[in-house]
Amino acid sequence: MTSARTNPALLQVTRLRKDFPVRQGLQHSLFGRNAAAIRAVNDVSFDIARGETLGVVGESGCGKTTMGRAILRLIEPTSGSVVFDGIDVATLHGAALRSMRRKMQVVFQDPFSSLNPRMTVGAAVREGMLIHHLAEGRAADHRVKTLFEEVGLNPDYASRYPHEFSGGQRQRIGVARALSVEPEMIVCDEPVSALDVSVQAQVINLMQDLQRDRGLTYLFIAHDLSVVRHIADRVAVMYLGRIVETASADDLYSNPTMPYTQALLSAVPRPEPGRQTARIVLQGEPPSPANPPPGCVFYSRCQHPLKDDDCTRVVPPLEEKTPAHFAACIKQPSQLP
C-alpha cells in the first residue's frame, strides 16, 4: 500500500490475524490446540502516517475492537506484525513492551467501565506518569492540572470519583489519561458512540484540537459514518474480519467501490427531509466468523450486478483501483444505483 503520502508510516500493520478459540475447557486450556476458531481479524494490512487519522468502520462484530486491541497488544495477535516507529511491537516482552506502551494509547467506548470506580480521576490521570517516571509529587500534580485544563475540565475535580461525572466528562478524563504519558498515537475505539449528539461534538472537537496541537496520530474506530467522515483523513472499511476498502475520506464517500461500502453508505439516514438517496437494503445476515465462506466474504449479500461463481473461488485481494483507493472486489466497480 504505497501512496503519494509523503510522511513516513508511523504504524505498519501487516497480515494481522486474531483467532479466538470457540470453546474453552480444561482439556483445551491444558492440552493444546483448538480446532475451531473465530477469525475475528483476518489478514489485515494497512499503515498510518504520522499525524494522520485513519478511520475504521464496519458493522458490529466485524473485528474492529479486536484489531485495535491486537495492535496495542492488549490481546495477543495470532500472527502478523505490527511495526510502530520501526519497532515490531508483536515481538516485545516484559519491560520493553511496557515502555513501548507509552507511545501508543487508547480511549474506549464505554465512559462507565473505562474508569476505575475506586480511584479518583486525578489518580487515574497521574498513574501513567508514575509508571513511566515522567513526573512525581508536585510536578505530577501540576501536570495533572494542566491536562485537566487541556481537555476542558475544571482541575479542582481531580479529587473526585468517576461516578460524579457525566459521560462526556468521563470521556475527557479518558482522553487526559491517554495523554498523560505523551503518546504519539491513540487508538480510539468508538470514543463518542455512547455520547449525545451535543456532547459528541464537544469531544470530537477536543480530539481534533489535540491532534493539531500535539501532532497526534489516530486510529479512529467508529460505526457512525458521519463522524468518521468528519474526523478521518483516510478510511478503512471492514467486513467479517477483513479490510475490504480503503481510500481517502473524500474519495471513499464520493466513490465507494466495494459493494459493501456502497450499501453501508446508502443506509446512513440523512438528516434532510426527502433527500434520502436510494437505499441498498442488504438481505440476510453476515456469515459467521467461526465459519467464513470461501472466496469473497461479502458474496452472500452482495448486490453487484456482475457477481458470479468466480467470487466464491478467490479471496479478492485489496487492489488499487484508482490512485490511493484500494478495494477488495474482483469485478469492475458498479455505479451506485
Binding site: G152, Q169, S198, N205, D224, R229, H230, E272, G274, E285
Partner: protein
C-alpha cells in the same frame, strides 16, 4: 377535527426519594393521530423513556404520575383505568419495543413461544393458532425460514433478528399505537435500514400510529410526520418534520442540528452546545436551557417560557418567539467553544 388517537396533556412523572424529587417529565403535552409517525427527540435524560413508560403506566415507585396529568387513548382516559383494564390495552392496543432486544427477551423460551404467549394472553386463540400467528408475524418481519426460526432461542439469533422478534411480538395483535423506544440505536446502519423499512411497511399494512423515540435526526427525517423535541423534562419544540428541519425555532433544536457531523458536507469544526443538562432534581428557574444558550438574556432567568406558537402547527418554548430581534443581535448562533466546559 376528530379526536387524536393519543393525547398526552400536562403529563408529569416525578421520582420521589425522600425530600428529593426528580421531575423527570414535567408538563409534557402532545398528540398522535391515527396512522401517523411522531418522533420524540432530545438529550439523554430529557425524559423520553419515562414519557413512553408513563403512557403504558409502567412507572414503578418511587416514580409517580402526578394527578393533573392526562393521557387519553381512543377517547379513554388511561390514568383512570383499573390495572386490569390497563392490561387489556397494554401489548394489545398499545405495544412497545425497547432499546435493548436481548434483555427484553426471555432467554429460556423460544422466540415463537414468546410471540405466541402474547396472543394467548390477550385473545382466546388456541395454542396452535397462536403459534401459527407467531410464525406468520415472523415471516412478515422478513425473517427467512420463519417456522424454523420460531423454535430457536434468543441467543441463537443476531441482534437484528432479535429486534425483529421484538417487533413481531409488538405487532402480532395489530395494535393501534406502537411506541418504539430507540429501536435501532443498538444496531448497525445496515440493519437499522432494514428495520426502519420494515416498520414503515408494516405501518402501511396495519395502519397503526408510531411514537418513535430516537436521538438520531437522520432517522427522524426519514420516517417522521411530526416531531416533538424534549429538553429538561419538557417539550421545547413541536412541529411537522419538514418545518422542524427547515426552520428550527428553539435554540436547543438549532444546536442539535448543527452539532451533528454530516455525511454530505465537511465542516472544519462542529458547532457544540457547551455544558451539560442540569439534573432533573434541580431544574434552573426560568428557561431550563438558558445556561447553555448563547441568546439567553435576563428574561430567560426569571420567566419560564410557555410554548409560543411560531407558525402553522409549530410551537417553541423560547422567548425569542416574542422578541425575535434578539436573534439577529447575536450573529453567531452558538459560541464555538474549544472544549471549555464542565
Amino acid at each position: 377535527m376528530t379526536d387524536p388517537l393519543l393525547s398526552v396533556s400536562d403529563l408529569r412523572t416525578y421520582f420521589h426519594d425522600g425530600e428529593v424529587v426528580a421531575r423527570a417529565v414535567d408538563g409534557v403535552s402532545f398528540d398522535v393521530a391515527e396512522g401517523e409517525t411522531v418522533a420524540v427527540v432530545g438529550e439523554s435524560g430529557s425524559g423520553k423513556s419515562v414519557t413512553a413508560l408513563s403512557i403504558l403506566r409502567l412507572i414503578r415507585p418511587p416514580g409517580r404520575i402526578e394527578t393533573a396529568s392526562s393521557i387519553r387513548f381512543q377517547g379513554r382516559e388511561l390514568l383512570q383505568l383499573s390495572d386490569g383494564e390497563m392490561r387489556t390495552i397494554r401489548g394489545n392496543r398499545i405495544a412497545m419495543i425497547f432499546q435493548e432486544p436481548m434483555s427484553a427477551l426471555n432467554p429460556v423460551l423460544t422466540v415463537g413461544e414468546q410471540i405466541a404467549e402474547v396472543v394467548r394472553v390477550h385473545t382466546d386463540a388456541s395454542r396452535h393458532d397462536a403459534w401459527e400467528r407467531a410464525v406468520e408475524m415472523l415471516a412478515l418481519t422478513g425473517i427467512s425460514a420463519p417456522r424454523e426460526r420460531a423454535s430457536e432461542y434468543p441467543h441463537q439469533l443476531s441482534g437484528g433478528m432479535r429486534q425483529r422478534v421484538m417487533i413481531a411480538m409488538a405487532l402480532v395483535l395489530k395494535p393501534a399505537l406502537l411506541i418504539a423506544d430507540e429501536p435501532t440505536t443498538a444496531l448497525d446502519v445496515t440493519i437499522q435500514a432494514q428495520i426502519l423499512e420494515l416498520l414503515q411497511r408494516l405501518q402501511e399494512q396495519l395502519g397503526m400510529a408510531v411514537l418513535l423515540i430516537t436521538h438520531d435526526l437522520g432517522v427522524v427525517a426519514e420516517v417522521a410526520d411530526r416531531v416533538v423535541v424534549m429538553y429538561g423534562g419538557e417539550v421545547v419544540e413541536r412541529a411537522t418534520m419538514t418545518e422542524l428541519f427547515e426552520a428550527p425555532q428553539h435554540p436547543y433544536t438549532e444546536g442539535l442540528m448543527s452539532a451533528m457531523p454530516r455525511l454530505d458536507r465537511d465542516a472544519e469544526r462542529l458547532v457544540t452546545i457547551p455544558g451539560v443538562v442540569p439534573p432533573s432534581t434541580a431544574w434552573p428557574s426560568g428557561c431550563r436551557f438558558r445556561d447553555r444558550c448563547s441568546y439567553a438574556w435576563d428574561r430567560c432567568a426569571t420567566e419560564h417560557p410557555p410554548l409560543y406558537p411560531v407558525g402553522d402547527e409549530h410551537e417553541s418554548r423560547c422567548h425569542l418567539a416574542v422578541e425575535p430581534l434578539r436573534r439577529s443581535e447575536s450573529h453567531t448562533p452558538l459560541t464555538v467553544r474549544v472544549g471549555a466546559d464542565s
